[in-house]
Amino acid sequence: MHIHRAERLWLGFGVAMLAVFLAVITTAAIVDGFVPPSHVQTIDPTKVSQTPPFDRPGLRRIGPGAYEAYYIARIFAFVPATITVPRDAHVTFFVTSGDVEHGFSIPETGVNTMVTPGWVSEVSHTFSTPGTFLLICNEYCGSGHQLMAAKVIVQ
């Protein structure tokens, strides 16, 4: 089957372009850890408040400049509603749902993950800019979805 010379040229370029994108993204995954949130850990949503570490939601310092934050997402709020971290803090967020599917996203950062009941989500970020960051639920969870937000204060 004949393919026009011009089309072969174009498709060659197109496939090469996609191969370059794949190489760049895969290298970033292996070398820089640019992997979308894919934590695999199950939990019982009906027992979240009794299951460590979610039995004590909030921020915990685990080392110099290193923190873990444990969040519970329930309609229509996040617990804790506010955390305060020092500038350049590296925070690992562990989030789980007490009811339905939620989102966990801090706009204009790389923090963006789904929160599925029955699973624990994990995402981390280094907060190098001071300010007050909005933390929102970005997956429809019911009539109060647009109210579901929290704060991360970076000093």
Binding site: H2, H4, A6, W10, F13, M17, I25, A28, E108, H125
Partner: protein, 38 residues
Amino acid sequence: MKIQKDEPLPATLAFVFTIGILIVLGWFAMFALLRSRW
């Protein structure tokens, strides 16, 4: 078997390659954004 003679298609090439270049530029701009926000 007829030998296919490829007639020139310069405008088509200009069209698809323009789209291709825009995609490349846009994709790398998004990658730069990803690096800055990660």
